[in-house]
Amino acid sequence: MNPHTPDSVVDFHDGLPGFETCRRYILVRSTACAPFTVLQGIDGEKPPAFVAIDPQLVQQGYAKALESLDLTRLDAREGDPLLWLSLVATQADGQATVNLRAPVVINPRSMRGIQLVSSDAAYALDHPLLAA
């Protein structure tokens, strides 16, 4: 399907909640989909794929702090630019929502990724993508 070289594979050591056995993902970007990115799993027979978007594009001033545990898991050094992605879900009524509370964070230098398992009520798990 999508050709990928080993250095374009992001390693999610713990998978994503609900998809713990799929640990490797590639980021698929195209002009036809921008500003959305497809986070595509490559482990297992039926790997999951997610539509994702930079949370700052959805909510101005979006900022979430990372704990030192998160930085350790990302193998992040000071100055590493990190890639933030919020996963998009489609609700039963067709409305697209964005998970701002539990974003995926990727360190492009180490090619490690995590999803923040956060209970931070400041951001919604299902923020409407398009203002009503």
Partner: protein, 78 residues
Amino acid sequence: MLVFTRKLDEGIVIGDGVEVRVLRLGRGTVRLGVIAARHVPIHRREIYDQIRSVNVRAASDAGAATELAARLRQRINE
């Protein structure tokens, strides 16, 4: 499931480096302490489950995800 009965200040050890200790007993609650290596993520069950169900709703396959991304791109450009 392994089941243990523990008293205050007792604990269990899981694998190489994870220890769970009973710190306080209350009415209907128990306060636990977890000792683990820094890279081991530890979550409250209900928070993890909540995010899991949102992930499950967000997941599709590569083809469907690409289609949805293209469709959403059109909608936000309208």
